[in-house]
């Protein structure tokens, strides 16, 4: 029998795609259904526990996929349940002659819309700068979070610094200090 005569539907358990003579209705699951990116628009010095203000959605040649995250005073709410990847990071400026040994960049989550737990962390430092010039260093953390209830499962971000003169760099025209949210699949 010629291959063109084989009914591909007989070899599938699901619905055959249109190109193979099927209805195409449910042949493939959807790809990424939610992706969003936010950033902190201004530089600040010292701790921010949590990073509560100056958040904006990326607005340069960007479009979110799906509904997107919502943010209020640094608390991020998910638009739908699912398995989510959260990335958070940025760049620190350690002033000249500063003795900064560490900066902690933290992702914190709540599952009861109240108490937050550390779920991801990374750090950077100024390597005990002993020059007059500032030093820059970057950090990024990534974590996967199972959001089973959008009313109770939320995230926020925290900066703790060893030396209070350390600045976390912010910008409103490019991604310098910020977070990325991607829904990987169903919970």
């Amino acid at each position: 029998m010629a291959l063109s005569k084989i009914d591909v539907a007989n070899m599938l358990t699901g619905v055959a795609p249109l190109a193979n003579g099927g209805t195409g209705a449910t042949s493939f699951t959807a790809g990424i259904t939610e992706a969003d990116q936010w950033r902190v628009t201004s530089t600040f010095t010292g701790d921010a526990n949590p990073v509560a203000s100056n958040w904006e959605r990326n607005d340069f040649n960007f479009d979110k996929i799906g509904t997107g995250m919502s943010e209020s005073s640094g608390i991020f709410t998910f638009p739908s349940t699912g398995i989510w990847e959260i990335k958070y990071g940025g760049v620190s400026q350690i002033g000249g002659n500063a003795q900064n040994r560490w900066n902690d960049w933290k992702i914190e989550a709540t599952t009861n819309n109240s108490s937050y737990n550390l779920i991801g962390a990374t750090g950077n430092s100024g390597a005990l700068s002993n020059t007059a010039n500032s030093q820059y260093s970057s950090a990024q953390s990534s974590v996967i979070f199972d959001v089973t209830n959008v009313s109770t499962h939320k995230v926020r971000f925290t900066i703790d610094v060893n030396d209070g003169s350390t600045s976390q760099m912010g910008a409103s025209t490019y991604q310098y200090h910020g977070a990325t949210f991607i829904r990987l699949g169903d919970t």
């Binding site: 600040f44 010095t45 921010a48 526990n49 509560a52 203000s53 005073s73 007059a132 003169s165 409103s172």
Partner: protein
């Protein structure tokens, strides 16, 4: 914000040295001029979101003076 070198050149460089944490914000973050400077309503301290303890904006002249101070310090430290 420092770019090609870290010599302070913008009022935001001065603002973030006047107080710690996210005490200030902008009405237009794409146009960071003094006229658009505001106090943040809330800041994060010790895991809580609380009212901004900074309750008064510095004057424009105070901000500019801080920027000049930072620039002079940078220049002195870099052979200027």
């Amino acid at each position: 914000m420092p770019e090609n070198n870290d010599r302070p050149k913008h009022i935001e460089d001065a603002l973030c040295q006047m107080h710690s944490n996210q005490w200030f914000t902008w009405t237009d973050s794409k146009n960071k001029i003094y006229a658009n400077l505001r106090l943040s309503a809330k800041v994060g301290i010790d895991g809580e979101i609380v009212d901004n303890p900074i309750t008064e904006l510095p004057t424009e002249s105070a901000v500019n003076a801080k920027l000049v101070e930072l620039q002079n310090a940078w220049d002195a430290a870099n052979g200027g």
